[in-house]
């Protein structure tokens, strides 16, 4: 039992299929472990013990009948931005602290149909705005490797839950790095698929042209198994792409002989922690041993990604979050004089400081007389950045570099300086601006034992290639098998 409960998603699915244990037994153990870890990590906002056990019973029935779906009985968790019918969905905000979702998100539906057991909803930065999981109304999440440190954000609860071996897989959303950066800081895998591959239906919207559902797991194989359940066309999201179904695990074992890895000078400059630089260099040496070659590439506009992002994302957020007005759902102030006062007080009370800052930035850049100078300008530079990547992919198959410029930082270290906090996303935001897939995989530890992530980026729809690259690396290294103390 103890081996299975901390196994990978593929191992857990196989053990359940082989009847080594029942899904109900497994779920009970997982619920107890989640409960025991909650005080130290604060990874969950809601735990649905009753619902999880009911789903586990259904999975056991299907497993006994022999007609079980691929991930039958496997425990997972959803980031609390993903709507789950009948279950509280808070988005880490006071605004939605009492909100029960009326329907399932597309990706939640997909994982349900695959047979997974939903343990609960994970803590996150409020409205997915943050890189440290400190802006949550429900308190900061702590890093399982050292609880004085942040797990990264905004999907910090999902990252911590997978890192601490509470669940083998969890969903996240990535608008500027919110899957890859916490995966890096928490020592696990995190994949952001191509924009449009997973429907955004049922996600509480932050920045609609950037928001991308994805997942956390410990292995590339597990990420592929989850993506198989989460991808697909959905008419309810007008940006969902109508493409042929893929098995994202089909190329896992393909040889890396001849793989061309692009190394942008811009990702290896100053400002990178020396331990991060050394771990990434060591990973590149491993890829060369596996048959890959490295090629220097240039992404001359990529350093503009953060300023572009901090125009486009707040602009879209200010528009999306205007729906929270205390009328149809969410927080309404107790005392107000008239309708305008009700709006203003409900929003002032319901949103936290970082969310308000971004709404104000977005309102300003979209306001009369500033649209061309900011929003239009940012969209133009966005195209320049996307063009850099297309030129680079003429010379290479994947692009590698650090996921984040440093390992995890201490809780409270960057909360007073938003710009410093924003620079955590310096290597990840471009992937959202272009919409191409990218993944973080564990590649080492720093001098104090905090994990380091390697980012693997690929061109549009190359998820299977990225997972292949990550899988071969994981077959040759054991970074992904290291567990935080007391969790394995």
């Amino acid at each position: 039992m103890s081996d299975v409960v901390t196994g990978t998603l593929a191992q857990v699915a196989a053990a359940l299929r082989a009847k080594q244990l029942s899904s109900v037994e497994l779920t009970r153990t997982v619920l107890a472990r989640v409960d025991a870890a909650q005080g130290a990590l604060n990874a969950f906002v809601t735990v649905d013990a009753e619902g999880a056990l009911a789903q586990a019973r259904a999975a056991d029935t299907a497993l006994a009948r022999g007609n079980a779906p691929p991930l039958a009985g496997v425990p997972i968790a959803h980031k609390d931005v993903i709507m789950t019918a009948g279950l509280k969905t808070t988005c880490g905000s006071r605004m939605l602290s009492n909100f029960t979702a009326p329907y399932d998100a597309f990706v939640a539906e997909g994982l349900k149909n695959a047979g997974t057991v939903l343990i609960g909803k994970t803590n996150m930065d409020e409205f997915a705005m943050g890189s440290s999981n400190e802006t949550s109304y429900f308190g900061a999440v702590r890093n399982p490797w050292n609880t004085e440190y942040v797990p990264g954000g905004s999907s910090g609860g999902s990252a911590a839950a997978v890192s601490a071996r509470l669940v083998p897989g969890a969903t996240g959303t990535d608008t500027g790095g919110s899957i890859r950066q916490p995966a890096s800081l928490s020592g696990i895998c995190g994949l952001k698929p191509t924009y449009g591959v997973c429907s955004r239906y049922g996600l509480i919207a932050f920045a609609s042209s950037l928001d991308t559902p994805g997942m956390f797991a410990r292995t590339a194989e597990d990420c592929g198994l989850m993506l198989n359940a989460m991808a697909g066309h959905d008419e309810r999201d007008s940006t969902s792409l109508d493409r042929a179904r893929e098995d994202y695990t089909r190329d896992l074992t393909v040889s890396l002989d001849g793989l061309r890895i692009g190394l942008p000078a811009e990702y290896f400059g100053s400002g990178i922690d020396p331990d991060v630089a050394a771990a990434v260099e060591a990973a590149l040496a491993e890829f060369r041993r596996l048959g890959a070659t490295t090629v220097d590439i240039a992404l001359p506009n990529v350093n503009l990604s953060v300023p572009v992002y901090y125009v486009i994302a707040p602009a879209e957020a200010s528009s999306n979050l205007s729906r929270f007005d205390g009328v149809r759902y969410g927080h309404r102030a107790e005392k107000y004089t008239d309708l305008m006062d009700m709006y203003k007080k409900s929003r002032a009370e319901g949103f936290g400081a970082e969310v308000k800052r971004r709404i104000l930035v977005g309102t300003y850049v979209l306001s009369h007389g500033y649209y061309d100078a900011y929003y239009l300008k940012a969209q133009q530079v966005r195209r320049l950045i996307a063009g850099d990547f297309q030129r680079a992919y003429e010379k290479c198959d994947v692009i590698m570099g650090p996921t984040a410029p440093s390992p995890a930082f201490k809780i409270g270290a960057k909360t007073d300086d938003p710009v410093q906090m924003y620079l955590n996303d310096i290597f990840t935001v471009a992937g959202n601006l272009t919409g191409a897939p990218a993944m973080s995989i564990p590649c080492g530890f720093d001098r104090v034992g905090l994990p380091i992530g390697l980012q693997v980026q690929g061109n549009y729809f190359t998820e299977a290639k990225i997972l292949n690259v990550a899988h071969r690396y994981q077959q040759a290294t054991d970074w992904h098998q290291r567990a935080p103390r007391g969790t394995a």
């Binding site: 042209s209 506009n301 929003r347 002032a348 530079v381 320049l384």
Partner: protein
């Protein structure tokens, strides 16, 4: 394009967020730092560059103009702060 304290009050009103003088001063300082970072974009020559609004250059799909969703008014209103007779209640706006 310096952001003034008056701008902060103006955009807070546009965003329908109540803000007092002390909070406005505090957020003003942080917004100045954010805009100093954002304003690096102004130096980029973007003459003739088509704005990119979306990751994929696809046409918005169209569907038949038929009703596909079921009526779930009661379910959707069950999470509202105040409803009556199937209507959302707000403070009186017309005397």
């Amino acid at each position: 394009m310096a952001l003034t304290l008056d701008d902060v009050h103006r955009i807070a009103h546009l965003a329908r967020i109540e803000i007092d003088a002390a909070a406005a001063r505090e957020v003003h300082g942080k917004l100045e730092a954010i805009f100093a970072m954002i304003n690096t974009l102004q130096a980029v020559d973007t003459t003739g560059i088509e704005p990119m609004s979306h990751a994929q250059d696809v046409m918005l799909p169209l569907r038949e103009d038929v009703v596909t969703a079921a009526d779930q008014r009661e379910l959707f209103q069950s999470v509202a702060p105040a409803v009556e007779d199937g209507l959302y209640l707000v403070p009186r706006v017309v005397e």
